[in-house]
Symmetry: C2
Subunit: 359 residues, 2 copies
């Protein structure tokens, strides 16, 4: 059985395309006759991302804070805020920000049409009803959240995505002008999310030709951006980075991430470390599993003058180490992709703990 | 203004995925409660493409003949046949075949919900209503018809596509098992459609990073298939060829084809030459415009032992030569992409005729 992969319905790509957002939203607005919710990373409160956000009278501006990783509680409270704002459901939600903000927009869109807490939908294909119209506008590139069928949340027990066809955006808008001013370190860590998941998917056991084509293209674009261009940024490098993120996300259609992402989820859940940084910290101890990838990753860190946080898990309590291990072990498809069907014989609890302690 | 590119809604890719078609069609069947139309290239009458087509009681098998290029008359008559078959519109149309068959399925889907002749919709964005559900299952790879927003038809006055967001398939199914037995020459000519349109789009003036990423990937896959693998075919080479076609089609989102496709349309319209062969005949005289591409194309012909038809337009009447020139000149976006805004000063009627006479 091959997945019947749900694609993003519409995509705009181009320098300055953000100014088309107002026109694009006319269709969902006129279809529902209701207001639009703009869910925007609050780092843009003082300096808006590029041009003006096309807010109409009656629309809702919902600034979101993603200093910490998005939680199911936060999703539920944002959905409540929208219900409190108006008794009518909105015409749509537009998420403007990095992967966390886009994931919040996806999750809240689902929670306006599905009952209960978002925590009950963490897992695979548990969402019954389509969400309301949702559009994604990335201001950071690398997560692939713009095209993925997941929204990754920290719930009461674990960090896990709401994986569903209904999660996929109805519209994405990729404007390199919106990412060109992203802080260098954050841009690097987020870009490495793409690089690392390409390394993981291309060496995984789930891969097929569809995902391989996308993964190889994303990897090549990451090399163009982080090795050839290095710290020299221009709108052209940012275009390549946006395409890397897009292709990396598409490559997940028939593949999976692997060891690094599984370990990184534990770091985020227990230590609150952001996904991009967590990936880099984890990847840096994975020479055994991805020798060439880790070597090239260190070269990219050098070229881009990035100093990785060290010794983050050294003084961890036994309890927290167990918790991190539990979170990582939940992600069975990732382990199976990386290590094959008999992964449980290879990746023991002790091995995971040892890896964490080296981070 | 950048195009808000409409994507195919769902895609299945994988060896043997054709056996999932029955399951996939359950959703549109149950939504409309009506019958399904299977529009299949009649070369498969004696030897079905791979596994069994999932025809239910009450469904319509519509064998289509694409020995000649699809015409608007043919589209209109197929739509009439379906209306005659049942007073109720079908749940959907599944096109199983090469680019011509898929284009027929797209066009007929539109003609069941839009009045008049399909000839009135040849052009850009003239279709008012969405068509009925339509799915594409390629048995030849290279045209990109599986992901494009066009269905190319020979009308009363010209060969021209119905270019519309409504043309895009709701579902495509890419199973390399269905293309592995395609006749070698036909496979080559169809594959070259992809190669040539990548050369044209990558050297065109319309290109942006989105289309460049897809075009480069498609080009590399064409080289893998037609140079590295050559006449040695396997399911793995056919997977690559399917991905080349898919990526080539996607690359048209923000680009255009060029000189070769414009001239090839004239060959098809006047001489009835199939699109793939026509492209190759035209491309072979275009050293002036695509020197490296033409050189590599000839290498591919050598490796794959293909003998191109020669002197096809040498004994053409003046009237037919004028007609061919007219058909080619209608395709303004193609010329502008290839030669820039001042293309009319470069590509005169005399120049076009001279090129045709060398074919």
């Amino acid at each position: 059985m091959f997945r019947n992969f749900k694609m993003v319905s519409r995509i705009v790509f181009g320098q300055g395309s953000f100014q088309q957002l107002g026109d694009i939203l006319q269709a969902p607005r006129s279809q529902s006759g209701s207001f639009m919710v703009f869910m925007v990373d609050d780092v843009f409160k003082s300096s808006p991302p590029g041009r003006k956000i096309p807010v109409d009278d009656g629309d809702m501006m919902l600034w979101v804070n993603v200093d910490k990783e998005p939680t199911t509680d936060y999703v539920d409270s944002l959905a409540d805020e929208i219900r409190f704002f108006s008794p009518h459901p909105p015409a749509g939600i537009v998420g403007i920000g990095g992967g966390s903000t886009m994931d919040l927009a996806k999750a809240v869109s689902l929670m306006l049409t599905n009952t209960g807490s978002s925590a009950t939908y963490q897992g695979w294909d548990l969402v019954g009803n389509p969400g309301i119209y949702h559009a994604g506008v990335p201001t950071l590139s690398g997560t692939g959240a713009e095209v993925s069928r997941t929204t990754v949340l920290c719930g009461p027990d674990r960090k896990l995505g709401i994986n569903s066809d209904h999660t996929v955006f109805d519209q994405i808008l990729l404007d390199p002008e919106l990412i060109v001013d992203a802080p260098a370190q954050q841009r690097f860590y987020t870009g490495m999310d793409c690089y690392i998941h390409c390394v993981e998917s291309l060496s995984g056991t789930f891969l097929n030709a569809f995902s391989k084509s996308y993964g190889e293209k994303a990897l090549q674009l990451c090399r163009d951006v982080f090795i050839t261009d290095g710290p020299n940024r221009s709108l052209e490098t940012e275009e390549d980075l946006m395409m890397a993120s897009y292709c990396g996300g598409m490559s997940i259609a028939y593949s999976q991430v692997g060891v690094c992402h599984a370990l990184s989820y534990g770091l985020s859940f227990v230590l609150g470390i952001h996904h991009g940084v967590g990936n880099c910290i984890a990847f840096n101890v994975l020479d055994e599993y991805y020798p060439e990838g880790v070597r090239e990753f260190r070269k990219m860190m050098d070229i881009n003058q990035v100093q990785l946080p060290r010794h983050v898990a050294v003084e961890l309590s036994t309890e927290n180490l167990e918790k991190m291990t539990n979170v990582a072990l939940v992600l069975e498809p990732l382990w199976e992709n990386a290590l094959g069907k008999n992964w449980k014989g290879i990746m023991t609890r002790d091995k995971i703990k040892e890896l964490y302690q080296r981070m």
